[in-house]
């Protein structure tokens, strides 16, 4: 009889690891809180750095979900018990599932920009977030201000809720810089007459082809990049937004009026990640993501045997990295279930 694996979360990581685990012959059940698989991928129209459509990746991931993978939608986990080697997952509907291993793929959510009140999200109508802009792209509607006008000038603010101790998040979310560049280009593609300004701390173009995209934004599309962190924004009577920022390259304070301000929000651990981690008694790292047994060598291994992680529940990742991490997680789970115990190898930490 083949062994059962429960995958919590049906986003990119959950889908791809399920596909590999099913291919290895395990009975896989995905517990998805929504009514659809795909997670955040459903909310992004096009992806950096290639500008390919999100749904193309989703289609690819869906092909991996064969009849060997069962899916429970609208799943709400009430409790997870462990008896010897077997996990018993109780859902709020009253159903219970048995599993030999649990893979957490509960992912991230975007930083609540209202916590950065000085930027005015939720207070001023013309301040939106990067996911809001993506929703506009997906809907096919044009980019308009709250009063329905075509914006003449749009500002994009980098690092909102990332690398910001005052917001409680000291880490870099890894994807927002390049998302900002991608969205700036997309704005220019749709509204070529609109001026686009990016306010950044520094541009982290670490990924393959990221630098090219950054160059394209400047040379081909004329996007302005201003090095300086936004201090605050306020609203004019006509609904336009005044941003206050220090241009640290020019060494001058700058005040600029924009018609629309887009906040590039970072990653925080999702509510599900927090809840499942606490339910299973896992350790969290200093940034409140689930702690891996070792950051270099055992990113999928948790502090408890039989419980593994995939994707952004352990740290912010790009889609490409999430897919790789999901496959790695599948291999780690298989090693555990087959008794190879490769995941049990130890690595010494020199405390000095």
């Amino acid at each position: 009889m083949s062994k059962n694996v429960i995958v919590i979360g049906g986003g990119i990581a959950g889908m791809e690891s399920s596909a590999y685990l099913a291919a290895m012959g395990y009975n896989v059940t995905i517990l998805e809180k929504e009514g659809k698989l795909g997670g955040h991928l459903l909310k992004w129209e096009r992806l950096f750095p290639t500008k390919r459509h999100g749904k193309e990746v989703l289609e690819f991931l869906s092909q991996g979900i064969s009849e060997h993978v069962s899916i429970i939608y609208h799943a709400d986990i009430e409790n997870i018990e462990r008896k010897d080697q077997v996990f018993n997952v109780h859902l709020s509907k009253g159903t219970s599932l048995k599993a030999d291993a649990v893979l957490i793929a509960t992912g991230y959510e975007t930083f609540d920009a209202r916590k950065k009140e000085e930027y005015g999200y939720g207070i001023y109508d013309n301040v939106i977030t990067s996911p809001d802009l993506e929703e506009i792209f997906l809907s096919g509607k044009g980019i308009r201000t709250a009063s329905g006008k075509v914006p003449q000038r749009i500002g994009l603010v980098h690092c909102v809720g990332s690398r910001d101790e005052k917001a409680g998040n000291i880490y870099c979310s890894k994807v927002c810089c390049v998302t900002g560049v991608k969205q700036a280009i997309e704005i220019k593609e749709k509204l070529s007459q609109t001026e686009v300004y990016c306010f950044y701390m520094d541009m982290r173009m670490y990924g393959f082809h990221f630098e090219e995209l950054y160059k394209e934004a400047q040379e081909k599309w004329g996007v302005y990049f201003i090095r300086g962190r936004l201090s605050e924004s306020c609203e004019n009577a006509d609904g336009t937004i005044v941003v206050k920022v220090e241009d640290t390259l020019a060494g001058k304070p700058l005040k600029m009026t924009v018609d629309l301000l887009v906040l590039l929000v970072g990653f925080v651990p999702s509510e599900g990640t927090r809840k499942i981690g606490e339910l299973l008694g896992l350790s969290f790292n200093s940034n409140r993501f689930i702690k891996s047994a070792d950051e270099h060598t055992m990113s999928n291994v948790s502090s408890e045997p039989g419980i593994f992680m995939a994707g952004t529940c352990t740290s912010p990742r790009t889609i490409a990295n999430t897919i790789m991490d999901a496959r790695s997680a599948a291999a780690t789970v298989a090693s555990y279930l087959e008794g190879y115990n490769i995941e049990k190898r130890t690595i010494h930490r020199n405390l000095k």
Binding site: E117, E118, G122, E165, G168, E232, S233, E235
Partner: protein, 600 residues
């Protein structure tokens, strides 16, 4: 004249103490500012001296504030202080009655029992014997409690006690021994001559039966005198310096003299009035997160030693929780700021580059403050409220402005701060307004204390309440469960506790909390601390939030943009400023009114 060589240690100690006290007080008096000296001369022969004496009796002797805090701790202090004083007075009266002379040597009452055994010459001798024994018993119980406190401080309401210096310890051990030795000496002598009251007489009788009291009494009198000498010599260099100095401080304070921006003579009186009782230690929120050597008592100790300890000066939230519980009423925040001033570069020309624009005319000025600009929901709510009330107002710092100066003042950059005060004051007065309203308690505090404005300055909670009372705005009660966090600068800083509560009880269900009003916590976002890491600050914030959440509030209300911002970072509950809650309440009332109109 009575004399015996054993009075010499006592006399030496007492003379030394008096000399040191005269020297120190003279030095500090000279260091008083001109203004303070003038005040002292002006008020010392006025009714204020009576008020001062009353306060001295209540606080230095009766220890009323300590009684309120913990009965046993209060009893311990009162029995020793008041008991000792009464013992001195009664002893002196007894001596004078005995010798029927007005003048007596200072040691006469102290050692009276040694010199005088034939008491038939003293009128109502039995009464005096009883009183003296009774007072001695009271003091001995107090000393017993003090020794007990050393080992079981929790029973006195103190989780932590002060770590003492060596002079403190010498003085402490000598004070512990003085009265037991007096008791033994008097008892032994009573045993010898079959005299004494209910305490010394009874004990003397017992001792005479079991001990060779004839041989023992003389050395014990010596011991008693030596202990007094040790105590007197250690006193000026120990925490017991507070005993005489607090009396002086209470007088000076009653004449309106207090530390103001400069570390001078009055500050010396203040720091030397600290008894190192340690009541301020437990209330400090830094105990848990970082440091246990920067609390008010340790900061004052280092100031007393003329140290410039940068960490002790700057590692403090300036929340005022220690000041609030200090039984001596030492203004630790003001002193810490003067210490900071000694350590920073304070440049009064730092803001000369700022230019003055012109100011429009208005009835009311609204000054949001920098922090309120970082919480735009507060300022936009406030503007809407002012519009709804049809107030003719000018938003003074709408497009950015000059800082109020308080953050600089807290950093010890007093001259720089005052230069900003001047710039803002000019702008405020140019408008011709009669009222200045601010949303920020930090600004409000400096407006009140340093601006010396001829017009009224109000925090928005006060102004909103006025608008409600004048029926310019009408509120509707949402019945939402709300807890109110007192901002340090508004509450302990300016004494505004009731106005925000009255507003909130009109808009919501206000739930009282255990630690509120003058006992409220600091949110952790204070501008006062320069040493805490972001993580340490957030630890404070999370602890406070956890306590709030125990009341399951729907809204955590506050009246300070900085508190709001600090809590919003970690809170899952809704954190709102009073202005936001009031605006929602006004709008709700309008909707209800409309519905009523439609129905009619």
């Amino acid at each position: 004249m009575n004399f015996d060589p054993f009075v010499i240690p006592f006399l030496t100690g007492l003379s030394f103490l008096c000399a040191v006290l005269i020297f120190k007080y003279a030095k500090w008096f000279i260091k008083l500012s001109r203004e303070h000296k003038f005040k002292l001369l002006k008020w010392i022969f006025s009714h204020k001296i009576i008020l001062a004496l009353k306060e001295i009796f209540l606080e230095s002797l009766l220890h009323r504030k300590i009684f309120r805090r913990n009965f046993v701790l209060g009893y311990m202090h009162a029995s020793i202080a008041l008991g000792w004083l009464l013992l001195i007075i009664a002893g002196n009266l007894e001596t004078k009655l005995h010798s029927s002379k007005f003048f007596n040597m200072p040691y006469d009452p102290v050692f009276l029992k040694f010199f005088v055994h034939e008491r038939s010459g003293i009128p109502i001798a039995a009464f005096y014997t009883f009183v003296m024994d009774f007072l001695l018993l009271i003091i001995l119980i107090g000393i017993g409690l003090a020794v007990f406190k050393r080992f079981r401080s929790m029973l006195f309401g103190l989780k932590r006690t002060t770590r003492l210096k060596s002079f403190d310890k010498i003085a402490r051990y000598s004070i512990w021994l003085i009265f037991p030795l007096r008791f033994l000496a008097e008892s032994f002598t009573s045993g010898q001559y079959n005299t004494g009251g209910f305490l010394t007489g009874t004990a003397g009788h017992f001792f005479a039966a079991v001990l060779p009291v004839d041989y023992l009494s003389y050395p014990v009198w010596w011991g008693y005198s030596i202990m007094l000498c040790m105590f007197f010599i250690a006193l000026p260099f120990s925490r017991y310096m507070h005993i005489p100095t607090e009396v002086a401080l209470i007088m000076l304070r009653n004449f309106g003299i207090k530390t103001n921006k400069i570390y001078d003579g009055i500050t010396e009186f203040e720091v030397n009035s600290c008894p190192r009782c340690g009541i301020c230690i437990d209330v400090c929120q830094l105990n848990e997160v970082q440091a246990s050597d920067i609390q008010a008592v340790y900061f004052i100790q280092s100031s007393r030693e003329n140290k410039k300890d940068e960490r002790k000066a700057f590692n403090c939230l300036l929340c005022g929780r220690c000041e609030n519980v200090c039984p001596v009423g030492i203004e630790v925040n003001a002193i810490r700021i003067t210490k900071r001033k000694q350590l920073v570069f304070d440049n009064k020309n730092a803001f000369n580059f700022l230019t003055n624009g012109s100011t429009e005319k208005a009835d009311v000025i609204y000054y949001a403050g920098c922090m309120t600009h970082l919480t735009p929901a507060v300022k936009s709510s406030m503007c809407r409220i002012l519009d709804e009330a049809n107030v003719n107002y000018l938003f003074l710092d709408k497009d950015g402005s000059v800082c109020c100066g308080r953050p600089l003042l807290m950093a010890g950059k007093i001259e720089a701060a005052l230069s900003l005060v001047e710039k803002n004051k000019k702008k405020i007065l140019e408008s011709g307004a009669k009222t200045l309203v601010t949303s920020c308690p930090i600004c409000y505090k400096i407006f009140r204390e340093e601006y010396k404005l001829p017009i009224e300055a109000l925090h928005h909670s006060q102004y909103i309440l006025r608008l409600v009372r004048e029926k310019k705005i009408t509120l509707s009660n949402s019945q939402q469960c709300v807890v109110y966090h007192d901002p340090c600068e508004l509450g302990r800083g300016c004494g505004i506790y009731d106005e925000p509560r009255e507003i909130l009880s009109r808009t919501s269900q206000l739930v009282p909390m255990k630690n509120e009003k003058n006992n409220s916590w600091c949110c952790g976002g204070s501008l006062g601390d320069f040493k805490l890491s972001a993580e340490q600050k957030s630890e404070i914030t999370r602890d406070v939030l956890m306590e709030f959440m125990a009341y399951s509030p729907e809204i955590i209300a506050t009246a300070c943009p900085l508190c709001k911002k600090t809590f919003a970072k970690y809170g899952n509950a809704k954190i709102q400023d009073i202005a936001e809650i009031v605006l929602a309440s006004i709008l709700k009332e309008k909707v209800t009114e409309k519905k009523v109109e439609v129905l009619q």
